[in-house]
């Protein structure tokens, strides 16, 4: 069988070689991108550990957490009482912002059971300190509902931006809670009071 000679073009070998080089480049690129998963580390927040009663220095504020309190009933200090199928946990915070007026909007509770309990800027579990003036301490309370088994070993995280805490300071406050605290709160129906933010220090009981 005779076939007419095809028109002169690049030798087969060169075309195959170029194709193989492209595939090799793609493969190497895939390995480079997937073999070293540093995205999370590069974008991770800077976690600043703290305990109750001691100030923690963040880029944008100095925070001090007060003694946590809890019960099965929450008094929002605005006339409403909230019940819960679990327990209420309240943590008073003293916030001194640095540099210029700032509003902190991120809060989250890492339960002792490993689950994350969401704290929003409104609703049932919320934290709204408002815009604070530098040098004037702002007093605000975090309130969150959670099951009693998550109380022991819970950590409270506080940050600046509600939606995005990457690459910025986040305070991680060990609340020092035990199962005894959880049991005491679960059997208590005296409302725990947690009001709105204020620049006046809370009254000492």
């Amino acid at each position: 069988m005779t076939v007419p000679e095809p028109a002169a073009r690049r030798p087969r070998g060169q075309t195959l070689g170029a194709g193989a080089a492209v595939l090799a480049a793609l493969a190497v690129g895939h390995v480079v991108v997937t073999a070293f998963p540093v995205d999370e580390r590069v974008q991770a927040s800077f976690v600043r550990p703290a305990v109750v009663g001691e100030p923690v220095e963040l880029r944008y504020a100095r925070l001090t957490a007060g003694e946590p309190a809890g019960s099965t009933v929450l008094d929002n200090d605005d006339g409403t009482l909230l019940a819960t199928p679990g327990v209420w946990l309240t943590v008073p915070l003293t916030i001194e912002v640095v540099g210029r007026p700032r509003a902190l909007s991120f809060a989250e509770l890492l339960g002792g059971d490993g689950r994350t309990y969401t704290v929003f800027t409104g609703g049932r579990s919320w934290f709204l300190p408002g815009t604070a003036q530098p040098g004037v301490p702002r007093y605000a309370t975090v309130r969150v509902e959670l099951p009693p088994e998550a109380v022991a070993g819970a950590h409270l995280r506080i940050g600046s931006e509600q939606k995005d805490q990457r690459r910025d300071d986040v305070a991680d406050i060990d609340l020092g809670l035990t199962q005894a605290d959880a049991d005491a709160w679960a059997s208590d129906d005296t409302p725990v009071v947690a009001g709105a933010w204020s620049d006046e220090p809370p009254e000492q009981p």
Binding site: M1, T2, V3, P4, T80, L81, L82, A83, T84, P85, G86, G111, D113, G114, R115, T116, Y117, T118, V119, F120, G123, R124, S125, V144, E145, L146, P147, E149, A150
Partner: protein, 228 residues
């Protein structure tokens, strides 16, 4: 011959090769070769699951008082009632009424969720005169609010590890007669990242259960239904 044909030199080679098959194939108009090729390709997908039976034909039937897993929630629908007066809830017009789907809600994921995801998980349909407009992203009509039975507050955020008793509230126009039945649609979500945002979230509410339930008037002195 109708339609464009294969290039003449290719056909000449086919004729010269002596193969009848090659000559016959290349003598067809291109359109038929293209069509034939596509059919062969589709048929080949049969080897890779192309003819497998779809596992989910449509939503299953929703039964009252039976817990259902609709990620990220576990919902148990108890009853559907209507009432004209609910303390703490405000109707947009006098004379309108609330249709409440009473359900037990549990967040089965590892993190708290905002009320918007729960709102898309249970919707109502086949009821005339619902005030809220249908949102094309979610099947059925979403509730105006989801109230915790114990204290009337709006259920958001929904924390994991807790069992909430709540009522999904839908406002209905007062000029329409109260319904005697309604279809409750229950949706599950998918945990994935979206094209714009690499962080994962709960997307794509898809109906997995539907049930036509009786609707009756709420009995005001029953302490399980509506509370102060």
């Amino acid at each position: 011959m109708p339609g464009p044909a294969a290039p003449p030199d290719l056909r000449a080679r086919a004729r010269q090769s002596g193969s009848t098959v090659a000559r016959r194939v290349l003598d067809q108009p291109l359109r038929r070769i293209g069509l034939g090729g596509a059919i062969v390709l589709l048929a080949a997908t049969a080897a890779f699951g192309g003819l497998q039976e779809q596992t989910q034909d449509g939503p299953e039937a929703l039964t009252v008082d039976a817990p259902v897993e609709v990620a990220p929630f576990e919902l148990t629908v108890h009853r559907v009632v209507w009432t004209t007066d609910l303390p703490g809830q405000y109707l947009s017009e006098d004379g309108n009424r609330w249709i409440g789907v009473v359900a037990t809600v549990r967040n089965t994921s590892d993190a708290g969720l905002l009320g918007g995801t729960l709102r898309d998980a249970l919707t109502l349909t086949d009821v005339d005169g619902l005030v809220k407009e249908h949102n094309p992203i979610v099947p059925g009509v979403t509730s105006t609010s989801i109230a915790l039975l114990e204290d009337g507050s709006s259920l958001s955020p929904v924390q994991p590890g807790l069992t909430y008793e709540a009522a999904f509230l839908f406002e209905q126009d007062g000029s329409v007669a109260p319904p005697t039945s309604a279809t409750v649609l229950v949706q599950r979500h998918t945990w994935r990242s979206s094209s714009l945002d690499p962080t994962a979230a709960w997307w794509d509410p898809t109906t997995t259960l539907r049930g036509e339930l009786d609707v009756r008037e709420a009995v005001s002195d029953a302490d399980e239904e509506v509370d102060e």
